[in-house]
Amino acid sequence: MPPISWALSTQLGQITPYIDCRQSFSWTAALCGILLVASVAGVAASRVTSNGLVKSKRFVVDAGFLVALAFVFALSLQEAATMLLDPCQR
């Protein structure tokens, strides 16, 4: 979930600033925030499902969990950027 959210957010970051600049509502911040929340939920879900797995499958889930954390961090930085920058600035 977090890698997909991050990819989506990164792509939307190329599209929504143009819309934000014309409107008063910050779609970039809102969409990035939703994707950040979804990512955190995905990370939490991976912890729940990892119980009771055999060692090799648990390894896959644990690796996925750690990878997901990196993307949550990237999304957090992106969300912070939406609060700092003017979407009309080029």
């Binding site: 990819a7 600033p17 750690l66 990196a70 961090f73 600035q89 080029r90």
Partner: protein, 636 residues
Amino acid sequence: MTSRNAGALRDTAFDAAEIDRRLAAIWSTTPGVWGALATVDHKVIGRRYITTAFVFLALGGLLSLLMRLQLAQPEARFIGPDRYNQLFTMHGTNMMFLFAVPVMQAMAVYLVPLMVGTRNIAFPRLNAFSYWMYLAGGLLLWIAFVLDTGPDVGWFAYVPLSGPQYAAGKRADIWAQMITFTEVSALAVAVEIVVTVFKHRAPGMSLDRIPLFVWSMLVTSFVVILAMPAIMVASTALILDRLVETHFFNPAEGGDVLLWQHLFWFFGHPEVYIIFLPAVGMVSTIVATFTRRPVFGYLAMVMALIATGILAFGLWVHHMFVAGLPRLGESFFTASSMAIAVPAGLQIFCWLATIWAGRPIFTTPFLFAIGFIVTFVIGGLTGVMVASVPFDTQVHDTYFVVAHFHYVLVGGAVFPLLGALYYWFPKLTGRLMSETRGRWVFGLIFVGFNLTFFPMHILGLQGMPRRIYTYQPEMPWSGLNMFISLSAVILAGGFLLFFIDVIRSARTGAVASSNPWEASTLEWATSSPPPPYNFARLPVVGGLDPLSDRRDVLPVAAGLRVDRRELLVSSIVEATPEAREASSGDSIWPLLAAIATTATLIWSIFTPWAVVWGSIPIAIALIGWFWPKGVPEDES
């Protein structure tokens, strides 16, 4: 087992000597020219790939020396602007497309089947085809350069400079079509490695027991598969713009110039990680062997490899910070560029922790690993600097960026690669490289590299732009440029000594045992160099380091046939055996298919009809390649 195969000869029926004899008869390449052209042995093809890539490295290095000769003094007249444009384009194109990516994949072609405990790579004929395509692409580029038709549009070939309006002649077409050759080759190898790692691992080698080098090549292969189609689409669109007057990149007719930059860098930035990630695997292997302990944080290392591989696709716009995109959109790529420092830092931490907790033995491969860590950290730090929009805007297209990416690419890939060559040379040739010469090589290259490239940071901050063929004496750059050019001679001396060491060691080096470093991964479980069939009996893996407990006898699997080339197919997660599969024999068809494809691709630079008529010989070659053999390919 089917009744038809009830009488098949299996290894359970013979003693070790008889198994060796029968397997050698089945798996050996036929002696002579025909055998050399038709072989599908991953070791032969891997060695060819590595040798060819290092020839291209030497040629690319000569080009850089010519550039340094030209820039040593202001207003030098040694090389004119047109030739200089070709030189830096050829240098970049050669190093990225003909050396860095192919050599990393070549190491995998040789090592991955050995490290996962199988007898050949998946799709061995495709592997042979990929090498011939790579060689043809390299020859195309270099022959064009010798004929004064070498590309002169930079390794990135930005439109409109590479478009029909500004790049007359065939130079840009040569660049674009060379891309097709090398990317077809790289994609083929990537597919082979993914399938080999997922389906041909030795029994017991579950996902949490895969060596880190194999993990790194698996992630790299996925990055190749996802990134390289973008540049193939872009270069094909460029050829169409130039040949049949389409308007993909012509704004006057509805095209978009920035589309090129997006497509190129969507490939171009992951390309950096395609080169870097295998180096991570190499360093991890070297550090583990020469500290006599497993790498600290195996799970964290795997996570870092995967995270880097995915994040690599969200950084491309940081090459376009001065293209006029919205600042908010750019900041998203700054965020991802900062975030990728997390897995990179994690890797550095794991290596340092391994060295800290281990008993380091300072051999040549280990010295290169240490040199890599130092150099890559410097390159990584300047990478974080140029990921910042305000800083990047100031140093864009200056020598600061040249310094940065050479620290990342040479420090991050060439140092580990040279260490890997010293480390795996016994497995490649059966002989050890000279430790004395190796230390000299490391010293010269490490000192020469830093003296050459560190001052370029200062030159960049002083405002010296990239890609200029000369400069005025009034500019404050001449002293540093002379210093850099002299330092480049030290660096070149190091590489010259390396090549001498390789040639001498291959002929007269000390004979290596099967495991001269007392390493723990499976490639060291067979002789140096390995026999054509790799393993007489396939090993069974019981842990992350199958050779680390120094058992005299490695558990092996039995029951494979000895009267045909046969591999074991295993499940993805647990590597449980699922089937026995026939592996392709030697064939001339991959070479013929590559010749037909080469003729078509080169011809298509001149006329679109080449695609129509060229498809006929390609189709004939493919029919010959895939002609049914009348025997089942696999048995459960």
